[in-house]
């Protein structure tokens, strides 16, 4: 524990700015994965533990498409679409068969899928870690900002993710489709009786969740090492975010992700050995005080 250091930091503006930005960056990629986890849980009541593998697939797809075409944009789009379709397939072929079973049975199924995907990735792309490298467009000196620095790529990442977060939030609250999705979460039988194919809604939520996770993987590819099993820590953090923010809430996922990002960036200074513990502590406190999460509905 290094509380003096934390004290020094929170009294210095530049430290606050830098660490907050850093929390923002960490939180943003997490948000893309956590939003999918949260939506799937909120609408389908399924604990999709395999979501981290979607993220991993996104990174590997990006690696391959970028390697072949040399276009990062193309690679990102391909990853989002590819993983979205994979999510769809996963829902139709596997997870839809255990709707309504025990949570533990769903967990078992997801675990099986994680094992398979981790190994398939190793067979296809090799066991060693890979790195995409920063696309040339982003190879520019970082911005200076209030005493801190923000690399161009991270600025791009923050802006893009925030746009997605806002669009996603608007889509879920303002569009007819979003309204349907929220209605399905509450009363699927009634929605079905109004002539809406809820099976399609379920599949659609997985498609969307997959696309977001694929996108997260693609955006992570230039700055993180790509390796089999890379999804695990992300999915665990996503569940912490989901619990903190409230299951099924996009705003909750955003706030939760940012909170985790801040805990990580300030925790590194104050509790260098206990940042993971801090995250779980936060989760435990939220669960005890408000089990449904900060933005969740009481059930």
């Amino acid at each position: 524990m290094d509380l003096p250091a934390l004290g020094n930091c929170v009294t210095s503006l530049s430290c606050i700015i830098t660490q907050s930005t850093s929390g923002l960056i960490i939180g943003m990629l997490l948000f893309l994965v956590a939003a999918g986890v949260s939506l799937i849980f909120g609408v389908l009541k399924v604990v999709n533990f395999a979501h981290g593998s979607f993220y991993m697939l996104g990174a590997y797809l990006t690696l391959t498409v970028y390697g072949v075409t040399g276009s990062f944009l193309l690679a990102v789009v391909a990853a989002a679409i590819g993983v979205g379709l994979f999510g769809l397939l996963f829902e139709r072929l596997i997870i839809s068969r255990v709707y309504g079973s025990q949570v533990l049975m769903q967990l078992l199924v997801c675990y099986g899928v994680i094992l398979i995907l981790d190994d398939l990735v190793k067979i296809i792309w090799g066991a060693e870690f890979r790195s995409l490298g920063m696309p040339d467009v982003f190879l520019k000196p970082p911005f200076l900002f209030g005493g801190g620095v923000v690399p161009v790529y991270y600025l791009f990442l923050i802006v893009l993710t925030l746009i997605i977060a806002v669009l996603l939030g608007l889509a879920i609250t303002k569009t007819r489709l979003g309204k349907i999705v929220r209605a399905v979460a509450v009363n699927p039988g009634m929605v079905s009786a109004l002539g809406i194919n809820t099976g399609l809604v379920y599949a659609g939520v997985f498609l969307l969740g997959g696309m977001l996770a694929g996108l997260a993987g693609a955006l992570a590819a230039p700055v993180r090492s790509i390796v089999s099993g890379m999804g695990l820590s992300v999915v665990v953090e996503s569940f912490i975010v989901t619990v903190i923010g409230g299951m099924g809430s996009v705003a909750g996922a955003l706030v939760g992700s940012l909170l985790i990002g801040l805990v990580r960036s300030f925790g590194t200074i104050g509790f260098p050995l206990f940042t993971e513990g801090l995250m779980f502590l936060l989760m435990a406190v939220v669960l005890v005080l408000k089990p449904s999460g900060l933005f969740g509905r009481e059930t």
Partner: protein, 341 residues
């Protein structure tokens, strides 16, 4: 209902212990005895988790808390205090009970998925503590330097056969005790709570107290699993408190079955053998195990022993020529639920 007296169970336990005792002479293989020791650790651990999941209806994601706590407390007590093994055992169980009381009191009031996540959070807090408290626990490196095994009551755990028999005996003893617990009035109270907590309340049962008691008992047995593992590897590692260890126990009970007492033990045997066999045969362990898991989960949709038990019941029913067709038939799939029905 199968009636079974405690005496009968004791006799079966004795017989099982006797078989374990002579097994190495008939089939002398250290591999076999290692397997039994590991089975003791995971068999006790998984069965204790099933006290919660299968009997009390509490789906815990964080039962590994007690596995890790047991392994570390035991190993540390032996290393630092130099007590005898029975004393370390007693201290470990005591600590686990205290921790389970505190954690349980906070957790059991939450329902379903929230309970699951909160138990997970507590387990990960222990894991973080182990990692952070390096001077005591050795941090991520694990508690190295070996766990001393001083002889007690003529039992010398540094001798392979003694260790084997001790762990095997513990397995039999713990299973006997847990079997007794689930067959006790308390065990049936847990079943009531699992089936219908609201109804149990209307029969005068303080549901949360019973759940807490179950949590504490399961925690105490879970820590014994951890102690056996610590004896086996002669140390303790942070992995023992990581969420994956809870995951493994969950997979054991889901593979083996939750409604039959020996389901978790069967699951432990299956998963351990599967693990050992598959790692031996192929480098693509995950691929093979994953496919097997999916076949089980999507094919049987229930644990192996549950499946057998149902099949057996079905057979008996049909052979007795069920008085009414509806009696032998399980509940059909629920009609599409319209909320507020």
């Amino acid at each position: 209902m199968m009636k079974s007296s405690f005496l009968r169970d004791c006799l079966i336990a004795l017989a099982a212990f006797a078989i374990l005792a002579v097994l190495p002479f008939v089939y002398p293989s250290r591999g076999m005895s290692d397997f039994v020791i590991r089975l003791a650790a995971f068999g006790i651990f998984a069965t204790s988790l099933n006290l919660l999941v299968g009997y009390a209806g509490l789906e815990s994601f964080g039962h590994g808390l007690f596995f890790g706590l047991g392994a570390y407390t035991f190993a540390l007590t032996m290393q630092k205090l130099g007590t005898s093994i029975p004393v370390a055992f007693a201290l470990t169980i005591l600590l686990s009970v205290v921790v389970a009381c505190v954690v349980g009191a906070i957790c059991v009031r939450l329902k379903e998925i929230y309970f699951a996540f909160l138990t997970l959070a507590f387990q990960m807090l222990l894991h973080s503590l182990i990692i952070a408290w390096t001077p005591l626990t050795g941090g991520d490196q694990g508690l190295t330097g070996g766990v001393p095994r001083p002889p007690f009551l003529g039992i010398r755990l540094d001798q392979p056969y003694h260790l084997y028999l001790f762990c095997g005996g513990l397995l039999v003893l713990c299973l006997l005790l847990m079997r007794h617990i689930v067959q006790s009035p308390f065990g049936y109270t847990l079943r009531m709570i699992r089936d219908n907590p609201a109804r149990a309340t209307f029969l005068g049962v303080q549901v949360w107290r019973m759940r807490l008691a179950a949590f504490v008992i399961a925690g105490a047995f879970g820590s014994i699993g951890g102690m056996v593992m610590s004896l086996f590897v002669s140390g303790a590692f942070p992995d023992f408190a990581y969420w994956t260890i809870s995951g493994e126990a969950i997979f054991m009970i889901m593979l083996g079955g939750t409604t039959v007492f020996f389901g978790p033990l069967a699951g432990a045997i299956m998963l351990l053998m599967l693990n050992d066999a598959v790692t031996k045969l192929t480098e693509h362990y995950g691929l093979v195990l994953g496919i097997i898991i999916l076949m089980f989960a999507l094919g049987l949709r229930k644990g192996f022993m549950d499946y057998l038990a149902e099949w057996w019941r079905g057979r008996q029913m049909s052979s007795v020529a069920a008085p009414a067709a509806t009696q032998a038939r399980p509940l059909p799939a629920q009609p599409v639920k319209v909320a507020g029905e």
